[in-house]
């Protein structure tokens, strides 16, 4: 029986040069009866871990390799025979990447010679050095090159590739290659330089080539492959193609049999942590915990000390003391510099993290599960995220780089993939669609999934009738195929990899766009699968905001607030939450939150924890929220699926809300060990393969049966777990966030000026734009002062409790401009326009903006006159034209004009809200304001109007669209059914000021208007 293994194979991780996902290639290999497959993407191992995992699940042996570009542009394929070979790959890839300019990795041949151990080298495609020379008729040079490779790899580990894609030059080239191999004493191997799993993939491959070279299909003849022969071919096809070279075919099998790499890097994962003399990492950790527990618990309860002992035992056996010390040290560093820091994520489940001050959440009080964080049985690595204030995170990163050295630290990468809009734009461009049309299509897409482009377009009137034409069908079909294809790499927001041995031995590296930054080619899932550890050092603007607010409070009121000491039961905070008066606060601010808070009516921190876990951006399952809410409101009885589920779900009225509960149920109902329960959680939330899911499901069912449940009930419970596990929130994470949410509410109530000032100084952040925050501030009694040329700083400031808007809000001013103003002003205030212009030398347009927003009102000259005066000033770089100097009579700016200028040039309304301009006419039409609306009853027909501040079409909302309007007094929430949305699509999508007619829906303290008709107010 003929056997063949493909050794030269590109996945879509050969960015824009590979038209199949790793799984698609592996599935095809499985169909073809192949039990091994290589992955050889360009200059990297980006897809290697995913490939390795997927291959192992399918019973296929993964062969890990890469195709590198050598100096002068020649290609070369390298395959790892063993772990030593894997290390060589990491070195060579990193060298190539770090040496060339970003995006053009190139390896020095001499470096190649230094890292050949454990590798098998294949000469590459037609762009390989040997082939290139042969094609150019330079046999001598081909021979020299060949000798070099045979020399450095040895005749057993260097093969000349023979490829047959039915190209003109194939026959002659292959003959010459065989001859050359004989002369060199080397062997040949047959490969197919695969770029897609099935023949049909050639079309997407062509499109990717166009995207890569930014051109269209019509104009790219020499950039595309001439035919569709680059798919994964069967052993039969290959043996028919290479009937004259059976040895080359057999060598593919032989090489495959020599390659065995197991990507388990667990033992490499931790750097040594320097501890005081006489201590080991564990003993030091132990001592720190003992000190810590005494600080946190007065007295130290038996429960606490028992838990601590248990956790420390697990940590010791798992060998993770250094990990905790690593994180403890980073947080300690931050705190010493007064940088706000708080740990969250599954880490917050541990008492150790709490007593080491890494987290602020008491796991005993909140009944958290340690095994969610760290389970001994599983190979799972702990995951600690630490949030720092956004403005200080960089400082912390630098500390880590310096402490552990550049050799041992790198950022984790993130793969940006094609989604609906980018797919439409890039694929459409390649197909030759006009760019304007593509822009229109892209902007009208409500979905993120490129697979849905076709379905969405057919619902849009202006496009629906086009969809039968070939180009449109091709567009939607190719978009479907390209969904989630890797497009390019970026850096993961906070993930940092710190390792024991030098990184370059175990992880391929490349440059990041930021100078000096090095990033690993593996993303966070890969890191986890490899058994390596990353710490997420993230930035949270809210922490900066809180930090700034506290500084202002100290400065202005002389109060040094300690947020860890404030009472957690302030009734004013809870009543504010019940009213959903949460603009500007953390996590409880969004439209969805505002809809739920009046129903939830939180009264304690635990309620906030549940609120945050239930309502989050991302998938919102209708039936996930409702059962809990219904039971809380007493509308549904509290029942349990089975008595065994009670202990886990009692605190949430029988409904699964937290991921920890998924684990507890698995343990209580099906006898899962903590390790197995964690695997269940992980498998579901990371969308593991069908095989693995089935295996876990069977384990659960049989465990449940063993506990006396019947099969149907066991299946029901399991489906519930499946449903919740993929987006159930981690309780400890929610708890950490709840504390911050509480703090932000506390500040908003008790120190509103400082709160809003800090909020405006840390934009962009949160759910709402600055204009909404400013309106909210005014409604809360904060007085705003306009931008003032002599008083405003860059940032917003407080003047006797009034909020002075900062220069940074003036459009077009820019940082340099702001600096110039402040620097000049230090020499004395600006006395007039001429003085200002002369001293700051700002561009005319910028000065115009300052005038128009009223920043120069202190000189008591009307704005139009100032503009006129500005027009008369000569700017040296402009033309010498003298405008008429006689006095002109200019009408003052109208109220409407001033309001318009504020919105236009500041993005906020310090004075009146824009709706106030329309109010007179709206009143005459019977249109209600947000205040009068609140007196309506359920079922009333109303007309309302306002400025659109939120427009949401959540993917799980089944076509419903949610819009929030703002007027002078507050907010109005609208719900638009899919049918109505289709009728008024254009208006609803683009109107800035909207007027709608609809019916009031009022329930549980929440008021919405269900829209029936809509029109643009302007």
């Amino acid at each position: 029986m003929i056997e063949y293994v493909e050794l030269h194979c590109h996945t879509n991780y050969s960015l824009l040069d590979g038209a199949s996902h790793p799984e698609e290639l592996l599935d095809r290999a499985l169909e073809l009866g192949m039990n091994a497959l290589a992955i050889t993407d360009h200059a990297g191992l980006y897809g290697a871990v995913r490939f390795w995992r997927a291959a192992t699940e399918r019973g296929i042996r993964p062969i890990i390799g890469t195709e590198l570009t050598i100096d002068e542009g020649y290609h070369l394929v390298l395959l790892a025979r063993n772990m030593r070979g894997y290390t060589s790959l990491c070195h060579l890839i990193s060298h190539a990447q770090l040496r060339g300019s970003k995006g053009h990795p190139a390896l020095d041949k001499e470096i190649l010679a230094e890292h050949t151990e454990g590798l098998i080298c294949l000469s590459g495609c037609a762009q390989g050095e040997i082939s290139t020379h042969l094609l150019a008729g330079n046999r001598e040079r081909a021979l020299t090159a060949g000798r070099y490779y045979v020399d450095i790899f040895g005749p057993d580990d260097f093969y000349i590739e023979l490829q047959r894609h039915r190209l003109r030059e194939d026959h002659e080239l292959n003959e010459e290659c065989v001859e050359l191999a004989q002369e060199l004493g080397a062997r040949c191997v047959a490969t197919n330089d695969v770029h897609y799993a099935h023949r049909e993939g050639y079309m997407l491959q062509d499109v990717l080539a166009c995207i890569k070279h930014r051109t269209t299909l019509d104009e790219s003849a020499n950039l595309r492959r001439p035919n569709s022969e680059y798919y994964l071919k069967s052993a039969e096809e290959m043996s028919s193609l290479f009937a004259d070279y059976p040895e080359a075919l057999a060598n593919a099998r032989r090489i495959a049999d020599r390659c065995r790499v197991d990507l388990d890097l667990t033992k490499y994962r931790l750097p040594t942590f320097p501890v005081p003399p006489g201590e080991t990492p564990f003993s030091y950790l132990y001592a720190l915990c003992q000190q810590g527990i005494r600080r946190k618990y007065h007295p130290v309860t038996p429960a606490a000390s028992h838990q601590l002992a248990h956790e420390l035992g697990v940590i010791e056996r798992a060998g993770l003391a250094e990990y905790f010390l690593l994180v403890w040290d980073i947080v300690r560093y931050a705190k010493e510099r007064s940088i706000p820091a708080q740990g969250r994520g599954s880490a917050a489940n541990s008492l150790v993290a709490y007593v080491l001050d890494i987290t602020k959440v008491d796991p005993i009080r909140h009944n958290l599960l340690f095994e969610r964080f760290l389970s001994e049985a599983a190979r799972t690595m702990p995951d600690i995220d630490v949030d720092f204030s956004a403005s200080h995170r960089e400082e912390v990163l630098q500390y880590v780089y310096q402490k552990y050295g550049k050799e041992h630290t790198a950022m984790v990468c993130n793969v940006v993939t094609f989604r609906a809009r980018s797919a439409v734009r890039d694929v459409g461009k390649a197909l030759g669609f006009p760019l304007g049309l593509l822009d229109q299509i892209a902007k009208s897409l409500d979905t993120r999934r490129a697979t849905e482009v076709g379905a969405v377009l057919s619902t849009i009137e202006s496009f629906a009738h086009q969809t039968t034409y070939l180009p449109w069908q091709q567009l939607t079909d190719l978009c479907r195929q390209i969904d989630r294809f890797p497009r390019h790499l970026s850096i993961h927001v906070g993930g940092m990899l710190v390792t024991g041995p030098p990184l370059i031995d175990i992880v391929p590296l490349e440059r990041a766009t930021m100078p000096g930054r090095v990033v690993s080619q593996y993303n966070k899932d890969d890191i986890e699968d490899l058994g390596l550890i990353k710490i997420d050092l993230l930035s949270l603007r809210t922490l900066s905001m809180i930090h700034d607010a506290m500084q202002l409070i100290e400065e202005k009121r002389g109060i040094k607030l300690d947020l860890e000491a404030i009472p957690l039961d302030d009734p004013e905070v809870y009543s504010m939450l019940c009213r959903a008066d949460t603009i500007g606060t953390f996590q409880v601010e969004s439209r969805a939150q505002a809809q739920n808070l009046p129903r939830m009516r939180p009264r304690c921190l635990e309620d906030i924890i549940v609120e945050i876990a239930l309502i989050r951006p991302g998938p919102l399952q209708g039936n996930m929220v409702n059962p809990y809410m219904l039971r809380r409101q007493g509308r549904e009885p509290v029942t349990y699926m089975h008595p065994l589920t009670r202990p886990a779900t009692e605190e949430t009225l029988g409904v699964i809300v937290f991921q920890e509960q998924v684990m507890r149920v698995a343990m209580d109902v099906a006898g899962f060990t903590p390790g197995e329960a964690d695997q269940l959680r992980r498998a579901i939330s990371r969308h593991r393969s069908h095989h693995e899911m089935k295996r876990i499901q069977n384990r659960f069912i049989s465990g449940a049966l063993g506990n006396g449940l019947n099969e149907q009930l066991a299946q029901d419970i399991y489906s519930k777990l499946e449903g919740f596990a993929s987006y159930g929130f981690c309780k400890s994470h929610a708890a950490a966030f709840a504390k911050t949410a509480y703090d932000s509410c506390y500040l908003k109530i008790h120190y509103p000026e400082e709160f809003y000032c800090a909020l405006l100084n840390n934009q962009p952040m949160g759910f709402y734009r600055p204009s909404v925050i400013v309106s909210d501030a005014k409604r809360h009694g904060v007085e705003l002062l306009p931008v003032h040329i002599n008083q405003s700083r860059d940032e917003c400031t407080l003047e006797q409790g009034r909020l002075r808007v900062g220069l940074r809000y003036v459009h077009g001013l820019g940082e340099r401009g702001r600096v110039r103003i402040e620097t000049e002003r230090a020499h004395g205030p600006f006395s007039g326009l001429r003085d200002f212009c002369r001293r700051t030398r700002l561009a005319r347009k910028v000065v115009e903006h300052l005038i128009m927003v009223g920043a120069m009102a202190c000189w008591e000259v009307p704005r139009r006159e100032l503009l006129w005066e500005l027009g008369q000033l000569r700017y040296s770089e402009e033309m010498d034209l003298a405008p008429p100097a006689e006095n002109v009579d200019l009408p003052p700016l109208s109220h409407a004009e001033r309001v318009g200028l504020e919105y236009g040039l500041l993005g906020l309304a310090i004075g009146d809200h824009i709706m106030s301009l329309y109010r007179y006419r709206l009143d005459a039409l019977g249109v209600r304001s947000s205040t009068t609306l609140s007196t309506c009853s359920d079922g009333d027909r109303v007309l309302v109007a306002g400025r659109v501040i939120v427009r949401q079409a959540p993917p799980t909302a089944k076509g419903f669209v949610f819009i929030t309007l703002e007027d002078e007094d507050g907010l109005i929430n609208l719900v638009v059914r899919p049918g109505i949305y289709a009728c008024y699509r254009r208006t609803l999508r683009s109107a800035l000021l909207l007027m709608v007619e609809g019916k009031v829906q009022r329930a549980d303290g929440v008021l919405n208007v269900i829209v029936e008709r809509a029109s643009d107010l302007v």
């Binding site: 039915r166 190209l167 026959h171 062509d206 035919n227 022969e229 091709q474």
Partner: protein, 85 residues
Amino acid sequence: MTKLWRSGPPLAVLADDNGAPQSFEWHGDVHHTNTICNSWRVHSDWWKSSIIWRDYYKIETTDGVLCIIYHDLVTDAWHLAQIYD
């Protein structure tokens, strides 16, 4: 002089089991293949209404004619692409 067609005149061709042309009829005459000097495949223009998917053969006939014919894999028809004079 060389005559060259992009979508050349149709031919009646007899091919062997591997699809290689053994003989073809052109202007009433039957020509037999002496050597197939080269063969290659093209698959392109899929985004247009006329896909090109062809196997080309450069043939020297027994009567010394050098030409290129192709097998259109979409229509299964054979055509003449080029004749060398």
